[in-house]
Symmetry: C2
Subunit: 309 residues, 2 copies
């Protein structure tokens, strides 16, 4: 089979070139290519693509800035795909890390300076058989659910529609309007929903009060979804087991804030998707889409120009 | 379908009773039962089981002490199963937790008292696309491999025979005799092999020297498999990224030992399978075997009396 001719711009990187050729493409100049992988922003994008170009892969997950250009209008017959979903995996992995570290009582273990097995062991929990509410079952939530499945976790998935999520670990899908039902029924909560007016302080005093003294709350979405003052109080009182936060309100969290000092709070400074992870994640996304393009299959993260995203 | 009559002894516990009935059994007295779930040791075990008993589920993973009794000899027509494998999941979960926490640089994050994103972010790694050598692909190793699969990790599995392990994440199975080949080719190492004369100091100075400055070494097996002095030196010099240890040599690790102070060492005091997790894990094991018994399928962890384990 002849390799599919694909162009790479504006800059060549070894991982992207490798991803394209590994997936069945061969790197060529733009005027001989059937597709273009573009690892830059709108500046410098070709005014008019050659007729031969059928597909363009863009670098960003959100493509608002591309809609401010004429790129889509100028190329009505070209399929554009974004990087949506490519970066969800790293954030989901971070959420899993925070949840596991909390449930297994790692912060107190790391503070120990002797073999305090008797004091520590009773606090070591497990995700096996535990119920985790994943609030927001979009890209990040679904990746996390897939990671929880082999751990034997029972997932309550919360999405807008309540349309059942058919992933192995999911025991129930709850529509966002019925969110108030889940707090007393779950062991842990991972917040993975977008920040909107509806999700502001989605977790506050009333919700925390219904959780368990062993419950961990993980937030890898946006700080505004959790009421920080209510959370600090719950952590101090032992209303919940702890919190793992990659996002905070305010953000950055200032020095001297109680969340830095509480032994049952873990804060990471919004680095769940660090730049050195973003590049290989995009390469993986490109490899997947090149494979699909070569095989004539539907591409992932196709931009719907009429819908505007 | 009539529920299968099963006896539970010497003590009734709600989780075990629930597991048995959920799996299609019904709790009856011993003399009316077809199977016995025994959650105690050999003391007090019935001298002669009723003729109706076809299967006995024992509580422990290792059954050496049962071989010192006449129980197996007295019941040549009864199938005995152990709890082997039931406790592997918790240890594998612990290994995953330590590996993720290390790779994502959690210890340094927890030590921070301000939003040090610039300093911390460059050190946040990912298991996606990373190669993890799982040395010892028995019960714990296999559970861990299943947990690594949705993270997009590439696993080099090491077992005695080199017989290929067909699990999704495994890219290569290496026989233990060729262990020396793996160190320079892996990103991280999880030690999950039994402690034998052959595995003593399986990881020492020469092996550590071939790993990367970003490599994490996780040991959830036995302390003797890692040369502690060589490990401390590698951690101090930055030869490797860090170590996560649930087992140490010596064990317990004494106060004042450098492993307590090194910022890139995480020590948990052999509590990867805490007692509060063991009970539900056994209940899950029982449910699985009762399901199989009810359906007439092969039981898991069947004791081979002639082989002695």
């Amino acid at each position: 089979m002849t390799a599919t001719p694909i162009a790479l711009g504006p800059t060549h990187t070894a991982p992207l070139a490798e991803a394209i050729t590994r997936a069945g493409g061969t790197l060529v100049e733009l005027d001989r290519a059937r597709a273009l992988v573009w690892n830059g922003g709108p500046d410098g994008f070709p005014e008019r693509l050659p007729e031969s170009i059928e597909w363009v892969q863009l670098f960003s997950a959100g493509v608002e800035e591309w809609f401010e250009t004429s790129v889509f209008d100028h190329h009505p017959n070209v399929v554009f795909t974004s990087a949506a979903g490519a970066f969800a995996k790293s954030v989901a992995e971070h959420a899993l890390m925070l949840l596991l570290a909390g449930v297994r009582y790692l912060p107190e273990h790391l503070a120990a300076r002797d073999w305090h097995r008797r004091q520590l062991e009773p606090h070591v929990g497990t995700l096996r058989g535990a119920t985790v509410a994943v609030v927001g079952a979009g890209g990040i939530g679904r990746e996390l659910i897939a990671m929880l499945a082999p751990l034997g976790t029972r997932v309550i998935a919360v999405n807008r529609s309540g349309t059942p999520i058919s992933l192995p670990a999911v025991v129930e899908t709850v529509p966002a309007q019925q969110l108030s039902q889940i707090w007393s029924r779950t062991d842990h909560v991972v917040v993975a929903a977008p920040a909107t007016a509806d999700t502001q302080h989605l977790i506050g005093k009333a919700e925390l009060a219904q959780l368990k003294p062993t419950s961990w709350v993980i937030n890898i979405a946006r700080g505004s979804l959790v009421d920080t003052d209510a959370l600090v109080e719950a952590l101090r009182e032992g209303t919940i087991g702890g919190a793992g936060l990659d996002v905070t309100d305010p953000e950055p969290l200032p020095a001297g804030h109680p969340l830095w000092e509480l032994p049952n709070a873990m804060v990471t400074p919004h680095d769940s998707n660090p730049s050195q992870v973003r590049a290989p994640a995009f390469a993986e996304h490109v490899a997947e889409n090149v494979t699909r393009f070569v095989q004539g299959r539907e591409l992932i993260a196709r931009i719907d120009v009429s819908a505007g995203y």
